[in-house]
């Protein structure tokens, strides 16, 4: 008979962890607000796997408002947004805050005959939310929406709201990074953040350090054109200046990622993308 208590409990570790994480949690309300962006992050979320979007929506959160996924339309949808403000909720913002002309470059609803700008909605919800996630590079740093010459005068969520915000950059963001961060909020509270307020669990790895082509870089074996299976540094790879766990997590259910698919990293999750990461490819 095996009497070691660790050996016996070993078989149940995963199960116990799941139990532990589900106990003491209740489904929290969530508002997913899209501002000046491209909906890329909500679409990316739909591609989640283990846990997938169904698990996320049914067991983890109660999604109260999102322009892409909700059934309600128009004023009815916006009323749902307003009602949620009086409850405890997590606010997820994707897209930058467009500030030109009092925010009129980005209108998210029409309510009682008045335009509701993204700026107003972000302010309303931002003041009351329990936690705020700036999801995607535009929300976290301004990104493409704030790229030069920035006609809509877009700024990042943290520049606009001036309160503690968790930045989850990426263009788009990886579904695991969103669900993982929200799971951490539910079970353990705010995850450990780095100086740029990104969760350390997902953003502490330098792509160049974990890249499967790193040995080619060290041996100075460089691709001279796209498609060659060597290090793409000479083509302008931004892996060395970008921190995400893409090389090990990968995308589309752990299959694809840029360097694995023979295109250089363009630094999409880095501050300064896209202006400072250009040119994306150089011969």
């Amino acid at each position: 008979m095996n009497s070691c208590p660790i050996a016996i409990s070993k078989d149940f570790i995963a199960k116990n962890l799941i139990k532990l994480s589900l106990q003491n949690t209740h489904k929290i309300n969530l508002i997913w607000l899209e501002l000046a962006g491209c909906s890329g992050n909500i679409i990316s979320l739909l591609n989640a796997d283990n846990p997938d979007i169904n698990y996320f929506l049914t067991n983890m959160i109660s999604l109260k408002y999102n322009n892409s996924l909700m059934a309600a339309e128009g004023e009815k949808a916006y009323r749902q947004f307003l009602e949620t403000l009086d409850t405890e909720f997590i606010l997820v913002i994707e897209g930058a805050v467009s500030t030109k002309a009092q925010g009129l470059y980005d209108v998210v609803a029409k309510y009682n005959g008045q335009y509701v700008t993204g700026m107003e909605a972000a302010k309303l919800a931002g003041e009351r939310a329990k936690h705020i996630l700036a999801v995607g590079t535009c929300a976290a740093y301004g990104g493409i929406s704030a790229a030069a010459p920035n006609p809509s005068e877009s700024v990042s969520v943290s520049a606009f709201l001036k309160r503690d915000i968790i930045n989850v950059p990426g263009c788009p963001v990886h579904p695991d990074w969103i669900i993982g961060t929200i799971a951490h909020l539910l079970v353990f509270g705010v995850p450990e953040l780095d100086q740029k307020n990104r969760p350390v669990i997902f953003y502490s790895i330098n792509i160049h350090d974990a890249c499967p082509r790193r040995s080619f870089f060290d041996q100075r074996v460089f691709a001279e054109k796209l498609g060659e299976p060597f290090c793409m540094f000479k083509l302008g790879c931004r892996g060395p200046v970008t921190n995400t766990d893409c090389p090990i997590r990968r995308w589309n259910d752990t299959d694809n990622w840029p360097i694995g698919d023979n295109t250089p990293c363009i630094g999409c999750a880095r501050e300064g993308f896209p202006d400072l990461m250009e040119p994306f490819i150089r011969y």
């Binding site: 080619f216 299976p229 000479k234 302008g236 200046v241 150089r282 011969y283």
Partner: protein, 143 residues
Amino acid sequence: MNIHNNNFSCQLSHITYRLSYYTKVFFSTPNPWEKMYYVNLISNELFWLNSLTQQLWEYFTEPNNTIEEKQFTLTELAKYTGANGTPAYAAVNGIVYDVSLEETWGGGSHFGLIAGKDLTNQFKSCHQAEAILNNLPVVGVLI
């Protein structure tokens, strides 16, 4: 031996060319025998490289033998942008640095800047510490 002699640099560039070719084939072939063959060729080249270094050493240990600093005009510097297989050079405070293998300078570009230029002002506006330049190889001076 005269190291300004064209023959010397010619030999050197042939060796580096062959080395980079052999390394590339070494990594692309799955065949272990072929790999051993190329390792052999690489060690041959290393032998020749070694003898060239020996000659250089002898040359520099002689008194009165010095090498002139390479001088760049802005037009000359503009050839080294990192594109088309050229090295990537950038000048700061009159000194030309080689950023070809600096990890933050992928493809000869660095946070919106392109190599092949005098980037003194840009450098000063972004980097306080001049110390990061000490790790870069110097290739010459700007005139």
